[in-house]
Symmetry: C2
Subunit: 358 residues, 2 copies
């Protein structure tokens, strides 16, 4: 599984997301232009609903799509553990099951993030040598895109988890951003050694040990540097990462609303805005790039891709491209190798990690 | 000192900031329209330089300005403790000294934030009952401004510090934003009880105890809610607050640059942008409001206001207005009362706090 020559299977939670299954199917249809002809889409969801949608979408006939009945749906507002444990017949749970059993190479869901993270962590094994998974996101920087992790999977990491996130994020940046030696920065509140906190200090020391051999570690960075492409992989704990991600997403939206209000304030401004329309569309696409529709939950022994709940067909298609790239580049195999190498080097720092989930 | 009827003295670190003392003096000149006629500006800096500037700025003649020679300057890139300890004759250190000795009611500096926070903490006493100061910032929200603290003064708080920050921030919001019962939210990564971390959990329990009597506590909030005016005072630890503040400041700048680039991409867009010029100016002013030019270091027994290093005269004048308001409303006296009340209620939670600095 996962080697470039073998057939790839993608499990899709077809019921998750704000726009419903029709938008997800439209995203799959859009992906026809780049997916291998023998790639299998396993659609999990209500069979009758999905079959009707499929028969109305002739462009899907050329694709290898199978429908797997899942009578339940994890709603967007359900609590993480409860949502996944109580709905064992949900589209999300059954897609995870297919992945776990080795019947799929990657899973894509636009559903409830907390439930998918909990489900992925509980139902799938972590990679050998990795203790906790991390949610990895792609952000727009001044000159190019960068990755930030952990965006919320592990809010109480140990220093060793932070180091593993650097390895996981580097491997993801190689595949998703096409970088050969992505630069890694550790997010803190000052770049002098000794600033920050104990977690930062210990992780910084360990990252220096694996710099060069396993990751390309550029040191500590501050909040104002993350968008400046000082590094390609911003590593932080899941508490900070989740807050920064959500604050920044919501600030972008706020600025968009302010701009919209200001442009509508009088006739002159409205006329100007009409002429400049292309600029505002361009801005939106740069801030919220559709080609990076998915964020992977890294550190598991299967590829789990979370697309935004509000994903449109272009985001879904972008997320499918990412899932495909991860499988074709065997990201997981490369991560395994790097984690093993790092654990060797860092043995003096810690007792060997144990698997936490099954 | 500090009562509405007595003469107010404002110590000004005239050498700090990126634009130099002439911009600070221009800001003082702008404040002539609202400061009491007998307010004294104590300017700390190089006497010859300041005297020359003063003689060239006739609008300052109507104000009560005194010059206090300080031969040294704390540079913007100096390290916090070193900068303040090694330069005992700097404009920042001598202004702090004047404040400490009770010769001034408030201090304003556009200089090195780290050095001012370290200097304030080391040289001034904390308020009785308060253990650690917090840097409090004002942010633009969808409908109105809100405050966020701690923006970096205390990166390793105990739960009790977080609770004190809620009290300090509420008092600041009353004066600076004119709110009667500002709503307080505790920043976390989920609003269910039990999410977040131990610090959040313990602070949340303590905040519930003083809700109603001391603060108006609205509970936990998430990163995506901070700009939505769900609360007026966002409380978080200084590590998270500093990173979020700097990330959001830098994201605003990035979006501004993207918009600028997009608008210049062709002649049509350029023409539109000219017509809509007022909208872009309006946007800028909403995102970076000059009337809130200063961020106070709260929890000390004197008012210390930090203005941004890049402050222009309007920001300086805004910061002077804030300093004046804090003194005239006796914010410190009100804080003392609230902290005392909270410490009574919270006695079961902790051993009594001790003063950490002198």
């Amino acid at each position: 599984m996962g080697s470039p020559s073998s057939r790839i299977t993608l499990a899709v939670d077809a019921m998750g997301g704000d726009k419903g299954p029709s938008e997800i199917l439209a995203g799959i249809a859009k992906s026809a232009s780049f997916v291998p002809r023998d790639l299998e889409f396993q659609l999990f969801g209500r069979e009758d609903e999905l079959s009707t949608l499929l028969s109305n979408e002739p462009s899907l006939n050329d694709l290898n799509v199978t429908v797997h009945h899942a009578p339940e749906v994890v709603e967007m507002d359900e609590k993480p553990i409860a949502g996944i444990k109580n709905k064992k017949k949900s589209s999300m749970a059954l897609a995870l099951e297919s992945l776990k059993e080795g019947n799929a190479d990657a899973l894509l869901s636009c559903g409830n993030t907390g439930c998918l993270m909990a489900g992925g962590t509980i139902r799938l094994r972590t990679l050998e040598g990795v203790e906790r998974p991390a949610l990895c996101t792609i952000w727009p920087g001044r000159e190019r895109y960068f990755t930030l992790l952990d965006a919320g999977a592990n809010p109480h990491p140990k220093p060793f988890h932070i180091v593993q996130n650097a390895i996981l994020g580097s491997n993801y940046a190689r595949v998703a951003l096409g970088l050969v030696r992505p630069k890694v920065g550790l997010l803190s509140i000052g770049t002098e050694e000794g600033k920050g906190n104990e977690l930062i200090h210990d992780a910084h020391e360990m990252l220096k040990e694996i710099d060069g051999s396993i990751v390309n570690y550029a040191g500590l960075i501050e909040g104002f540097q993350i968008f400046e492409n000082v590094v390609d992989v911003v590593v932080c704990d899941g508490f900070v990462g989740n807050i920064v991600l959500k604050a920044c997403e919501s600030l972008s939206k706020l600025i968009g609303s302010f701009l919209d209000e200001e442009l509508k304030r009088n006739a002159l401004r409205k006329t100007g805005a009409l002429l400049s329309m292309g600029a505002f569309r361009g801005l939106k696409q740069r801030i919220n790039p559709e080609q990076f529709g998915g964020a992977p939950l890294l550190g598991l022994n299967r590829n789990v891709i979370k697309a935004h709940g509000s994903s449109n067909r272009n985001h879904v298609s972008g997320a499918i491209k990412i899932a495909l790239d991860l499988v074709q580049h065997d990201m997981i195999g490369q991560m395994l190798e790097d984690v093993k190498g790092a654990n060797e080097i860092l043995r003096p720092f810690h007792s060997p990690p144990t698997q936490t989930s099954n």
